[in-house]
């Protein structure tokens, strides 16, 4: 078979990979902010939950998390009488998003803590509440600091989506595996696969660079 004949099937898989990357990155970003800010909270319960989440998801393996959500969670649900069987897509997005979110939370926390105390003093002198200070002064200044790390995490997330093929989700890697089983043309298939991931990673990197510039536009404005 000519290699171009594999393309339609691979493109279908690539589309699934793109969607997985998008949704899990969005979920990861949300988790990163919630738990990154939560770790800095003065409320011990919120802080405790955030630390536990970050430690568990950073301290264990993504594939373990994925398998746990897909194979073990339904049994845990059974035990308490709730149906917790997740469709592969949901298990995949949850595992990917929560995993990358835990790494992101440390990025968010670090960037917020790196905002100079001068800014907190100015905010206090102007009588902002703590919440206003966080959302209007600290976070807007911290976001540009987070962006380079977020860019790396997004590419990491794209690569990690390949693992969902192991719970039979029809992503790019899964499609490639199917074709290889059928044709045994390993070299062609996997070379194409590697280049397609590489191409997608370049696109993700470019998008994150654009976002980075957008988030930090006040830094370069009109100078």
């Amino acid at each position: 078979m000519h290699w171009t004949e594999y393309l339609p099937s691979l493109m279908q898989g690539a589309w699934v990979t793109v969607q997985l990357t998008l949704y899990s990155t969005l979920l990861g970003a949300a988790a990163a902010f919630v738990f990154g800010i939560g770790k800095l909270s003065r409320n011990w319960a919120l802080r405790g939950v955030s630390i536990a989440y970050i430690e568990v998801f950073r301290g264990t393996s993504l594939l373990v998390q994925l398998f746990w959500l897909y194979f073990a969670l339904p049994l845990a649900g059974n035990a308490i009488g709730i149906d917790l069987r997740l469709p592969p897509v949901l298990a995949g997005v949850l595992a990917l998003g929560l995993n990358i979110g835990a790494y992101g939370a440390e990025v968010v926390r670090g960037a917020i803590q790196a905002v100079h105390s001068d800014q907190h003093e100015a905010a206090r002198a102007l009588n902002f509440t703590e919440r206003q200070t966080l959302f209007r002064i600290t976070i807007p200044q911290a976001i540009p600091e987070m962006m380079p790390s977020f860019g790396n995490l997004a590419v990491q997330n794209l690569k990690d989506t390949a693992l969902v093929s192991l719970i039979s989700l029809g992503d790019l890697t899964f499609r490639a595996e199917q074709i290889r089983n059928f044709t045994q043309e390993s070299t062609t298939i996997y070379t194409m696969l590697l280049f397609m991931y590489f191409g997608m990673a370049l696109v993700v990197t470019a998008i994150m660079r654009l976002l980075e510039r957008f988030a930090g536009r006040w830094r370069v404005a009109g100078s």
């Binding site: 264990t60 393996s61 991931y197």
Partner: protein
């Protein structure tokens, strides 16, 4: 039964206790894969770092492109590639070695950056001082640059060791019997995934905590200004 150990399904606790030795055998494989993969990453990474800083553009640029390519493509796909494609060219390795090689290859892209950053962090003034003393450049590298770069390099490498450990379960797809694979097999045979997979999670937490603590300890005892030379 697995590795000669029977599981006891009479109650959850007995089940957990009976499969612990099996999981620990899997954990031992995980640790071995981590160590071998890390070793490959250190060696390959050093080679890439040297190639990337080569004076000739015809060496440096391709090296940069290759490491960028490795960094931007999934470990799983690289593993498949090595596992299925190498034999077509007559290179047949045991699954474990192929897996460790894939881990090492993926992380060599990262470790090569650690070497480069560590070496570049040794300032220009140090090079100028060495030149003023008329030290040969080989000796400058081994006695001035390396001792100062090591305290910067070691902690970053340690963090990648922990990352490699967390990526070992990917090797289960090529039949390596590391800890997750073992737990999955127990689950497949007993229809109880919850206990073995949760135990793997717990054991992973312990492994990464211990490894991270080791890295921190090492970092604390490394002299920040460089290894002392008498």
């Amino acid at each position: 039964m697995l590795f000669g150990f029977e599981w006891d399904l009479s109650n959850p606790l007995a089940f957990a206790i009976s499969i612990l030795p099996i999981l620990l055998i899997g954990m031992w494989v995980t640790i071995q894969a981590t160590v071998v993969g890390f070793f490959v990453a250190l060696v390959l990474g050093l080679i890439f770092a040297i190639l990337k800083s080569a004076p000739s553009r015809f060496i440096a640029w391709p090296a940069r492109l290759v490491t960028e390519f490795i960094r931007d493509t999934p470990l799983l796909v690289q593993l498949f590639f090595l596992y299925y494609v190498l034999p077509e060219y007559g290179i047949v390795l045991p699954a474990f070695m192929t897996g460790a090689l894939a881990l090492g290859l993926q992380y060599s892209a990262y470790t090569s950056e650690v070497y480069r950053a560590g070496i570049e962090a040794v300032g220009r003034d140090q090079h100028e001082a060495a030149r003023a003393l008329n030290l040969p450049s080989a000796r400058t590298f081994t006695h001035i640059v390396v001792p100062q770069a090591i305290p910067r390099i070691v902690p970053a490498m340690g963090n990648y060791l922990v990352s490699i450990m967390k990526d070992v379960p990917v090797l289960s797809v090529v039949t390596v019997l590391e800890m997750l694979n073992v737990a999955k097999i127990i689950g497949d045979r007993t229809f109880n995934y919850l206990i073995p997979l949760s135990m793997v999670g717990g054991l992973y937490l312990i492994m990464t905590l211990v490894a991270s603590a080791g890295v921190r300890l090492l970092d604390r005892y490394l002299p920040k200004q460089g290894l002392p030379l008498k």
